[in-house]
Symmetry: C2
Subunit: 457 residues, 2 copies
């Protein structure tokens, strides 16, 4: 029997939607999303099915689309399908395949939602997805915002299967002989999440057999705590950030009264691209000379006599962002750069080498911190991967047909000694590649964040 009552209870208790709402279900054809379809059908809710064909898995993509189409026809449910040229999009927009699929998907869902008056988009994520996200964020470093992981409701998105664990879904699908398609790419998701899923969660479940429910409660508490923090920050913003002409002034005396100082100033200035590490430096400088400036990728923060003055950088202004070893997570206005280091032996054994121009795999010992993230400069040259000779950056941009208007937007990672390490999105430098003498590997990931899901209208 399908857990129909629990499903309805979960929807009602979390106020995900009401019986009057029309819901758009994102359905890949895998067991989670197919189970979600059957639960919606049996509950008598009003819904449609949307299936994305990303054209990434040849015959399998065709099979999946056909399967979902037949499922919708059998159950007599409105069906939406769209074919995406995901690889082309990723190439053109210089984002990873994964990011491209994400952007294309949510944009299209929003189109259907607005056009056909769906109240929410339903995703079939379950409890284990949520726990994995929390543990992954913790392992890579996070504040409170990274601890609530996946919430049952966020903007236009709802996740009505969060009351079930992966094991429960597998059991139900098997017992009820629910038909679904197996996504072969599901079996090869990324290294870190697999490790958490296969090696860490089973251990934690031996300590607490009820881990999924415990984490549901944890996550709700953390989400509520973040809400408290965000309200405090919003009040501070209204009180402390004073607009004067083209600048924002923040009274140094007021900053000194903040408690806890670092967290609150960081939360205030995060939207302007400042990192936690830079904020620590700003705080240390507060009592020292005025005139000192700090830069994010988009803003300049200057220490005046009584105020910190925040000014947006001009479009063409040189941007130099220092990357410190201690804060391997840099938030830029529309992107983020994270990195971590592992032993080469571990890398070779376990890391699934993703050929993605938004990732770089570097010889950790050759990096001289702070690294520098900047846009192109006259005379820039580097040794593209596999080459022993220098190539001018300007020639690379010509070869890659980068439009003139975009050239200044390409982020370039530079070593402490001035050598280019990585032209992000294009090529990494041959001098920093993993070689037989490499002991540790530093893995960098650049993520474009300019996809936002619009608030419910």
């Amino acid at each position: 029997m399908l857990p129909l009552q629990n499903f309805k209870d979960y929807i009602n208790q979390n106020a995900l939607f009401t019986a009057d709402d029309k819901i758009l279900l994102a359905v890949s054809g895998g067991r989670d999303s197919v189970l979600m379809v059957h639960l919606f059908k049996l509950s008598g809710y009003n819904f449609g099915i949307a299936h994305c064909n990303f054209n990434l898995r040849g015959e399998e993509s065709v099979r999946d689309e056909h399967f979902v189409k037949m499922l919708a026809a059998t159950l007599d449910i409105p069906f939406y399908v769209k074919h995406f040229q995901t690889k082309d999009y990723a190439h053109i927009h210089k984002v990873s395949i994964q990011m491209a699929a994400r952007e294309l998907r949510y944009r299209w869902f929003e189109e259907i939602r607005n056009q056909d008056n769906y109240a929410f988009i339903a995703l079939a994520q379950h409890q284990d997805d949520a726990i994995e996200t929390v543990l992954l964020n913790l392992t890579r470093g996070t504040g409170i915002a990274g601890l609530h992981g996946i919430l049952p409701k966020r903007g236009n998105l709802i996740r009505p299967l969060l009351f079930l664990s992966r094991a429960e879904i597998n059991e139900i699908v098997e017992k009820e002989q629910v038909d679904y398609v197996e996504d072969s790419s599901n079996l090869s998701t990324n290294y870190a999440r697999n490790k958490i899923r296969l090696k860490v969660l089973p251990q934690l479940k031996e300590i607490n057999a009820n881990l999924e429910v415990t984490f549901q409660h944890n996550i709700q508490r953390f989400a509520d705590t973040e809400m408290v923090l965000q309200k405090v920050v919003a009040d501070l913003k209204a009180g402390l950030l004073i607009s004067k002409q083209n600048a924002i002034h923040i009274s140094i005396a007021e900053i000194k009264r903040l408690l806890p100082q670092k967290l609150l100033l960081f939360e205030l200035l995060k939207p302007y691209g400042f990192t936690e590490h830079l904020i620590a430096e700003v705080l240390q400088a507060l009592d020292k000379q005025s005139g000192l400036s700090f830069f994010s990728a988009s803003h300049q923060l200057t220490l005046d006599r009584e105020d910190l003055i925040l000014i947006a950088l001009k479009e063409k202004e040189q941007r130099h962002l220092l990357l410190h070893a201690q804060s391997p997570h840099v938030v830029l206005p529309e992107a983020e750069l994270t990195w971590f280091t592992i032993a080469k032996s571990v890398f070779e054994q376990e890391y699934e080498f993703e050929r993605d121009h938004n990732m770089a795999y570097l010889d950790a010992e050759k990096l001289i911190y702070p690294l520098i993230l900047r846009s192109r400069q006259a005379g820039d040259r580097f040794k593209p991967m596999g080459m022993n000779n220098f190539k001018k950056l300007s020639d690379l941009f010509i070869d890659e047909k980068v439009p003139v208007t975009k050239k200044d937007d390409i982020p370039i990672l530079v070593n402490g000694n001035g050598e280019i390490i990585w032209v992000i999105g294009f090529r990494q430098d041959n001098r920093y590649r993993i070689s037989p003498t490499t002991k540790n590997v530093t893995i960098l990931t650049y993520r474009n964040l300019h996809i936002t899901i619009s608030k419910q209208s």
Copy 2:
């Protein structure tokens, strides 16, 4: 070489103490605390050494005391030692051996601190201890307060070794041939923490080789976030809890304006012993009939027309606390009760059976929730472990020489069907023991919390 500069930097950056302060070091003789002694000595700080002999490990206890005494003499450092009858204390005060050792230790440290003007007590905990605590709390369920784990400074306690990982300490101690004693009980600490230490942390370190530093930053962010939450709660307390005669009134209209409602009302009422689960029930009742009452072990909360009214229960009043399966963590005014369930096979293989009257091991399938936690009632009887006949509770209290004044304070755990499961601190019932047919084991832990470390004067 000892990491002297890093040690001093850590102390200064975290403002743990100044060169003028006299510090009392808690030294067991194990590698962590001995390394701490040498770092203090070489840094030229003013300090004393305190060693507790808990008389729990026979010859080994004698050996350890002798070792630390000789270390202090060799380095010419004031030495304090005290012998504790830990088992007697645990028996008399009905607390676990571990809790008894903890209480005795901190009480004695505070005595020396006040008497000989030590500014702080230094503990030799390291980064891995802190990470383990966070993961353990998360696994068992926690709010933000359980996420900062161990902080470098908290009240009178400082932890100057938190800049080192366990691996680093082991390496230093080996390289420098630092002499120490091996505590055999260190090797058999509890099941859950060992699992985190040996099975979970190594996996997470393969995802992030820099895990210890990442967690130091995580922990600081969480501690700061908790500070923000506590300030908000303190402001709410001042505004919302209105004292009238013997009661505290809280306006229902104000409660309805709270956002997030559950977290904030829980934080407001937690000091009065109310659980998160009870708060959820209070919130659900707000719009319904007035006159409804909710009970914690110490307080009654009554839903009046416009206010929630909070009244302390009279000493002798019957206390019935309902324990729900969904909230396996109950906070009482001076104690807490937590529980979790594991498969019997796991229990048998891996759980170190702690013979401790503050723990109970029960056949999970026999429990009918909600369980009830209450004090004695006329006619109470049960089947003490190993017996097939009933025994009157009053007879047990006579056998165990419980003073009349204490009899109402003994917490009794009762099943949903009215049968006594566990006379906490004394005996569990034979009917709920683990038997050959048991499938899952529920492990309950009762912890007395009435030890508080006084704030720095």
